[in-house]
Symmetry: C2
Subunit: 286 residues, 2 copies
């Protein structure tokens, strides 16, 4: 597990470099209020984060012996969308969080209006990043725009957040909880795997297997997050332990983990770092 | 002028139909909280609005004898981005408006959290709309993603909104005011013209002229808006009449209008409805 975390860190550094370079190249007109907006974007995007999603893109490419730079624009775009969703989630009208990763949230530092715009800007820049990164391969580029906008939109992440708003007010079923997570957090994780598979030029049947693997991986991460949360605080009603109980949730996690490993075998990727990633999730303590 | 308004209405109806059809085709999972989100999106997108931006796309295509359906996905995407910006602008942390077009604003009906998500969802769906609409012409599609994301992003609309936040707190120069409007409202109007020119397959030198025409048109609309505002209420400091005075602002409007008309001549489009649009702006009372 420590070896894997070391490997993850190496990918995180590459992603950090690419994200830094993207925003360094954005030319801001002199003496404008845009500097503060850019600063607030960089505050949330460039300082922290495990970079789990972009690293997943890189690991997928490596598992199929493709150079990671091939998936880098996708990796950066996904991280921008993930970061925008965190900034908006933290706003007073949503979760009203003052701290994230031990630091004041974006709106606590820059004010609500700028934080709102920082999120809007990041979401928009994600698509500019894709369109520039794949400019020379427009068919691939447009396909990735379609996959990413679907995963992040109304029947994706944003839809999942709307389901979550409802789930905080009323009891939901296991089926609805599964759907909510599949959209809210699962879709973006799935698109890392599926989109990278497309970018790496895998054949359609392999892309389909990758898509399924991405789905199982996203679900496994969510179940584990719910388990870890329920150790720390009381078990929330609208969580897997709240609906299934702790023991059944642990079993569910093991099943989904096994299913993910089986998909990796079918992909002949059972010796890649993706396998270690699935293992890591099963045993992680944070 | 009345004839032109009648023509504008015909284009508006086509755009309304296309936007309706786009959201009808979005399949929402049963029994989820996504229905309310979709409803809130439709509340802001499908009921009102002059559809000025999408109509401009259609008029550009017509001026070059291209079928309007060629620019329709771009027209819809621009309107989605315009609408998301209005929803977010109305939020309490921004302008805190309770009414728009005589109806309660989105967050007044659906709450702030849902309104925030409705804006995020619309922005994301704009890019899905582009990627689906131009799926069979990926080179064009990806180019439009690049143009639209640039016009709407950090060095576009969102950046202009950030400048506006600053302008509300401190005095700005005419140069800064011009830049603010060029980004905040101008970029999206410009992209209607430039993007449609690209979609219509015009040659590079004509695209460049269209881009300039779009810029002048956006500026002319903003100057006129400022003039109309200053008739209604007191003259705001950070407006064209506030900096130039009423008389000079009227002259400025006439100059910019003339410049737009000259560009139309260079484009051999001086007999198109685009000419009437420029005229209409000069004389409109609302």
């Amino acid at each position: 597990m420590e070896n894997f975390l070391e490997e993850l860190k190496l990918r995180k550094e590459k992603v950090d470099e690419a994200l830094n370079s993207y925003f360094r190249s954005v030319q801001i007109p002199r003496s404008s209020g845009i500097h503060e907006l850019k600063e607030s974007i960089e505050y949330s995007l460039l300082r922290g984060g495990k970079r789990f999603r972009p690293a997943l893109c890189l690991l997928l490419a490596e598992a199929f012996a493709v150079h990671p730079k091939r998936v880098m624009p996708l990796a950066c775009a996904v991280e921008m969308i993930h970061t925008y969703s965190l900034i908006h989630d933290d706003l007073p009208c949503m979760d009203n969080d003052d701290f994230r990763r031990g630091e004041p949230t974006n709106h606590k530092v820059y004010g609500e209006a700028t934080a709102l715009l920082a999120g809007d800007g990041l979401l928009t820049e994600a698509f500019r990043c894709l369109s520039e990164g794949y400019e020379k391969e427009p068919e691939l580029g447009l396909k990735l725009v379609m996959l990413l906008s679907s995963a992040a939109g109304l029947v994706g992440m944003v839809g999942g957040q709307a389901m979550d708003l409802k789930a905080q007010k009323e009891k939901i079923s296991l089926q609805e909880l599964n759907l909510m997570h599949a959209l809210k957090t699962g879709a973006l994780i799935r698109i890392c795997v599926e989109g990278s598979a497309v970018a790496c030029g895998l054949l359609p049947d392999k892309i389909e297997l990758c898509r399924n693997f991405g789905q199982q991986l996203g679900l496994a991460f969510q179940i584990k997050d719910d388990l870890l949360d329920s150790m720390e605080t009381k078990i929330e009603l609208g969580s897997f332990p709240g609906i299934l109980g702790l023991e059944e949730t642990q079993k569910y996690l093991e099943e989904v983990t096994q299913s993910a490993q089986n998909l990796l075998k079918k992909l002949s990727a059972e010796k890649s770092l993706l396998k270690d990633l699935v293992e890591y999730n099963l045993h992680r303590k944070i």
